[in-house]
Amino acid sequence: MGKTVEINPTTRHEGHTKLVLKVDDDGIVEKGNYLSVTPVRGFEKFLVGKPAEFAPIAVSRFCGICPIAHATSAVEAIEDACGIVPPKDGLLLRELTGLGNKMHSHPLHEFLIAPDFIPEKDRVEYITRIQQMRKTGQYIVDTIGGEAIHAPNIKVGGMLKSITPSAASKIYYKCKEFEKLAKEQVEYLIPIFENRTLVDGTEIPEKLGYHDFGYLATDSTYGNRENIEQKKVHEYTPYDVYEKEVAVQACTTIPRYNGRLMEVGPRARFAKFHDFKEKGAMAIHIARAYENVIHVKRAMEIIEELNVDGLTRAKDPILGDGEKLGLGVHEAARGHNTHQASIDEKGRITYYNAIVATTWNIPLIGKAVEGTHYKFAEHVVRAYDPCVSCATHMISLDYDNKVVNEKYFK
């Protein structure tokens, strides 16, 4: 007979989502639907007509967790549209700000999964380590970005200003501490994930979260528009993927690359750049733990490479032709984050579109819960660290340019 199981809301992630699962008599998920139910925000619509410089300010407000990732994608898209090439030291500082954001965000997720995996006796030490790591991540964003949250130094053309030599050496020193903590975290967490055991002793099925879709990542730590063919990206509507009664509630587009669903995020980056072959939900946690080490190593490399007296911002005017579609790609904590913009000859935005990291993962998470008992579904969801609020961009046309649902225009 089977039945439908609905988990609503799913917890310990950012934004509002639910799972609608068709399960068989043994509780095994036959069909998994994971859908966002956060209200549509309409950023892409209201940005049109605004000055290009407003985009990084506005998109920083997509959500309260990764303002840096969005501001970075926005300025990259506008620079591409206007043919602006930021100077090297500006880009290094920008990458470092993004690394600070990830060095805060990954440990935050490790905090969110603590109730699943960390025994009570270890929690204080575990969380103390996480807090120290988050402070360093935030120190970097605060110092280089110019402010803790909506970093005003991330500008079209580069970065507003450089840092002092003493700030650079402080960052380096703090990164050394972070590296030590990140390695401790790896040593502590990897055996837990490899043992596949929840804190209450429940064994996690070996193939939990396995899927056969692709991986999409453009850079190990920053983002590179040369490594993706954007023309192969197509956004579908939920109606193309879910049954109608489910699709009507979903608030994200479904992007595909070459027609294929793609996973983005730590494991995708690891698969592409570090020859990582592990699959399943636990492999994402493992890749994330290792990424903390990769991020801090790159941060220290940047400090060594950076000329603090170097030029940080190109002086070119922020003007486009209104036609060229600029692409901004950033590998955010949760994965491949793209913004696209066109800018007219007066510097105003004529088109804006964002496919944010979690958008890619949402349809995939639903598929990845299939084949195991529904009681494990939440652990698959959480492994992806979904940050759904920024992913809620519903389109109203399907691939044949047919109107799917007129009410979304209003």
């Binding site: 809301p9 917890t11 310990r12 992630h13 950012e14 934004g15 509002h16 209200p39 549509v40 925000r41 309409g42 950023f43 209201f46 300010i57 506005a58 920083s60 407000r61 959500c63 309260g64 967790i65 303002p67 805060h104 935050l108 969110l112 807090q131 988050r134 402070k135 935030q138 120190y139 964003v141 605060d142 110092t143 402010e147 803790a148 949250i149 909506h150 940050c387 609020s389």
Partner: protein, 165 residues
């Protein structure tokens, strides 16, 4: 630790610039930055102004611990007490609603509980300069504050400056 946690006083403008009067906090920080010459106290090394948007709980409050030298947090935000729009009200920690713990969604974590805990655990003084909102348009986007809230900004700035002295 992040530079702002090494200060004695934090001024946080909270809210979302995109949702009408919810942008009050952002506009307060902007105005305070513009008035640094008029109010020299705002240039003090001991004070940090932050456009905290909707991220204060993640990026600031959750990082405070016993080693943080903070003595006071001043928050500029809108309130909804059914007053005349634009009315300003100073709230202390006792006035902050005592909400039950909220573990469902890290994104919507309300500030009230965290502020109470910070006050209880570390003795950091909490002051909220609240401005009665007229319209918060979420989820619809509106970039302007209402006239009433706009007109209250300069008075609210004075209240914040009073808290810094």
């Amino acid at each position: 630790m992040p530079g702002y946690l090494n200060k004695e006083i934090l001024v946080l403008g909270c809210g979302n610039i995109l949702f009408g009067d919810d942008g009050f906090g952002y506009h307060m920080i902007k105005r305070l930055n513009e008035l640094k010459e008029q109010y020299p106290i705002l240039n003090s090394e001991k004070i940090q102004l932050i456009d905290a948007g909707t991220g204060a709980s993640h990026f600031i409050l959750s990082l405070i611990d016993g080693e943080t030298p903070l003595k006071k947090i001043v928050i500029a935000d809108i309130i909804d007490y059914g007053l005349e729009p634009g009315t300003l009200k100073k709230l202390c920690v006792e006035d902050i609603p005592n909400l039950p713990k909220y573990h469902v969604d890290a994104h919507d974590m309300p500030l009230a509980g965290m502020l109470r805990e910070i006050n209880d655990d570390y003795g950091i003084e909490i002051v909220v300069i609240g401005c009665q909102q007229k319209r918060v348009t979420a989820p619809d986007i509106l970039l302007e504050l209402s006239e009433e809230v706009t007109n209250s900004i300069d008075d609210a700035v004075k209240m914040v400056v009073d808290e810094l002295n």
